[in-house]
């Protein structure tokens, strides 16, 4: 294995796709977010009587409310199909690698096999078999990197272009809510959570959401937007808590790789989960990085999609691509009184028209301290 002699400075995001609880399709998702439309609902596929928390951001596609295996795989394939259609590269991926970032892979389906004896063979525990059937894809990777998984795979996909190994890659992210993760989050949160309120003084914690996102990444244009860099690191600090030093390092590395200054960033799509720990550490990091007079606008899509776990980073990239194209920034829904740590950030509370927005920073941080930060630039279509 040997690298190519020269690496590209930027890569085109040539097509986008997404599925979430509040909309299906990248364009409809962006419209829903700008309209302040949330996917929050009372629990649909889970027995509410067994939990303290009674709400989530679920995709409402279960037949008669009965849970079935394989839903994550379906959303993944739908998002990939939309992205390759948008990029105009056709649905034959036999010569194109597909990197899937996920926090919980098909664990929900494995749970259903365990507790309800649903059929779900081991060949479907990762996503390669389904991508082979639907797109003829063979070079497929399921990367399970917690809540930064799909932003991690975006960086790893860009590396395959940078080393000259590939000219085009598909990068995707997907997650469906599992009983085990939803239950354990419910178990450890102080009070039951009724919605995700990033950076708000009265936030209670995180609620999970279903979702998938996909992009086509290419060496040259035309570009919906340009990917300038992705940083990848690990705090090596805590299994569940974020670490300021690790997050600061990830942000600074992403900006250095893109050869930009903090003042160049127009908008930040935060990880913004609504937990006490994440939001405070993330707000402090942003205040430190953007300490100059020119500071970016800051938003958080999880206020309407819930925490889509491993899919969330790439979903923010799909939204960032449309922010840069449309010059409109969706708000942080439900934000009324910012925390002390976030008080000096330019938090977006109403959909904001901003025609000159040219550079976006996207953040995702996961359990185990796995951090990824991407810089994306306005495209040419």
């Amino acid at each position: 294995m040997t690298p190519a002699p020269h690496a590209a400075r930027r890569w085109s995001i040539a097509g986008i796709g997404a599925v979430a609880s509040n909309a299906s399709g990248a364009g409809r998702l962006f419209d829903a977010l700008c309209a302040g439309r949330s996917g929050l609902s009372p629990l649909r596929g889970f027995d509410a009587g067994r939990f303290r928390t009674r709400h989530a951001y679920e995709i409402d596609d279960r037949p008669a409310g009965v849970d079935v295996p394989g839903r994550a795989t379906q959303w993944l394939c739908d998002a990939v199909a939309e992205a390759v259609r948008d990029a105009g590269i056709g649905a034959d991926l036999s010569e194109i690698p597909v990197l899937v970032g996920t926090g919980l892979r098909e664990l929900r389906s494995i749970e259903l096999r365990w507790t309800d004896t649903a059929e779900f063979p081991s060949s479907r525990w990762h996503f390669g078999t389904a991508l082979r059937e639907r797109f003829g894809a063979a070079t497929t990777y399921t990367v399970c990197n917690a809540c930064s998984a799909s932003l991690y795979t975006l960086g790893m996909g860009a590396d395959l272009l940078a080393t000259g190994a590939e000219d085009t890659v598909v990068v995707a992210g997907v997650d469906s809510i599992t009983t085990s993760m939803f239950g354990l989050m419910d178990r450890v949160q102080v009070d039951p959570v009724d919605r995700v309120r990033p950076f708000d003084r009265d936030r209670r914690g995180v609620l999970m959401g279903d979702g998938a996102a996909a992009v086509v990444l290419r060496r040259g244009g035309p570009a919906t937007c340009w990917l300038r860099s992705v940083s990848l690191n690990c705090d090596a600090h805590s299994a569940t808590a974020p670490d300021l030093a690790g997050i600061m390092a990830a942000i600074e590395d992403a900006q250095a790789r893109a050869a930009i200054e903090p003042a160049d960033v127009d908008v930040v799509l935060t990880h913004g989960t609504g937990t006490a720990l994440n939001d405070d550490v993330e707000a402090i990091a942003l205040a430190k990085v953007f300490a100059g007079p020119t500071r970016p606008l800051v938003t958080a899509i999880k206020s309407m999609t819930g925490h889509t776990s491993g899919a969330s980073g790439l979903m923010s990239v799909v939204v960032a691509a449309q922010i840069l194209r449309a010059g409109r920034i969706p708000p942080i829904a439900g934000l009324t009184e910012p925390t002390d740590e976030a008080r000096d950030l330019r938090l977006v509370t109403d959909t904001t028209t901003c025609p000159d927005v040219a550079l976006a920073q996207v953040q995702a941080f996961g359990f185990g301290g796995v951090n990824a930060v991407a810089i994306v630039e306005k495209g040419d279509r």
Partner: protein, 313 residues
């Protein structure tokens, strides 16, 4: 031109006392194999078996590569990445928790299980124990996962993100894994294998010895296409790691075959890394390249070539 080499190996399993055992015959199982006792130190109480096995194999490979001393790592923390392959690692926590809630309520779930409900717990735990701040990646990619993880680890090095990565393949045996196994009557591998991958330039600069070089790799729809692409225009290998049931492509029809799972049990996500460790040991005594193949023709088949380290490009 940059090359990626294996510079250290380690194993952690009841049936393996040293990396060389992977290539030879597994040893008689010891009555009790407790990775936590062998590792020592704090912070292991709530770690699942996959994490404990992975930590021990990583520890041994890092030490073998000359990257650990009494105070910790001998190189900067951000210069070491972690890539782990496992398909079954945390299924016990996931299924046990889902079962407890299904028959009771959320109050029956154990809060200390929260970190283990995330599939990347082995990779992040290795980073935390050894203070490794480079990219940290968990690969759960089915039967080919270990070889794919080796490729993705090498890619982190070739893209100049880090000069070195500790690569681990691990699968635990427990009630959940036995219940969900494809072949309930078959033997299952309970253990971990690890290899430190490093750019040959970085290895040489710090006085480490490259043991084997990573060559061609491909994940394709068929074994034939995968083997052909990984071999490229090079000579046939001297040894082919592949399952007994895999039909040999013409390129390796006359090559000696080694089926590690026949001796160690079904190894799932650990297999590819076991093959890398075995191939590295084999290249210590033999000149010819070694080829490793793993996968599922309904999904994808991966092949990875290992050649003698230090040869001219």
């Amino acid at each position: 031109m940059m090359h990626v080499a294996v510079v250290g190996t380690g194993v952690a399993a009841r049936v393996l006392t040293s990396p060389g055992d992977v290539l030879g015959q597994p040893v008689d199982p010891t009555a009790r194999f407790d990775p936590a006792t062998l590792l020592g130190g704090r912070g292991l109480r709530y770690k699942d078996r996959a994490t404990r096995l992975g930590l021990l194999a990583a520890n041994r490979a890092l030490a073998d590569a000359g990257l650990l001393d009494a105070t910790g790592t001998t190189v900067p923390a951000a210069s070491v990445g972690v890539v782990v392959s496992s398909n079954l690692g945390n299924l016990d926590t996931v299924c046990r928790t889902a079962g407890a809630i299904a028959t009771g309520s959320v109050t029956d779930a154990a809060p200390m299980d929260l970190p283990n409900a995330s599939s990347n717990v082995v990779a992040s735990s290795i980073a935390i124990r050894f203070g490794l701040r480079g990219p940290n990646v968990m690969v759960c990619n089915g039967p080919s996962s270990g070889l794919d993880a080796a490729f993705l680890a090498a890619s982190l090095i070739l893209a100049c993100r880090v000069p070195r990565v500790v690569l681990v393949g691990v699968e635990p045996v427990n009630d959940v894994v036995e219940h969900l196994a494809d072949d309930p009557a078959g033997d299952l591998f309970d253990g971990a294998a690890a290899a430190v991958l490093e750019s040959e330039t970085s290895a040489t600069a710090r006085g480490a010895v490259p043991l084997a070089r990573l060559g061609g790799y491909a994940r394709r729809t068929t074994t034939d296409a995968s083997v052909d692409r990984a071999l490229g225009a090079g000579p046939p290998p001297g040894l082919w790691f592949a399952g007994r049931a895999t039909a040999a492509p013409p390129a390796v029809a006359d090559v000696c075959r080694k089926d590690l799972e026949a001796e160690l049990g079904a190894a799932s996500g650990a297999l590819g890394v076991l093959q890398v460790v075995a191939g590295t040991c084999w290249l210590g005594a033999e000149a010819g390249p070694a080829l490793a193949t793993a996968g599922d023709p309904a999904d994808g088949v991966s092949s990875l070539l290992l050649t003698t380290a230090g040869a001219a490009a």
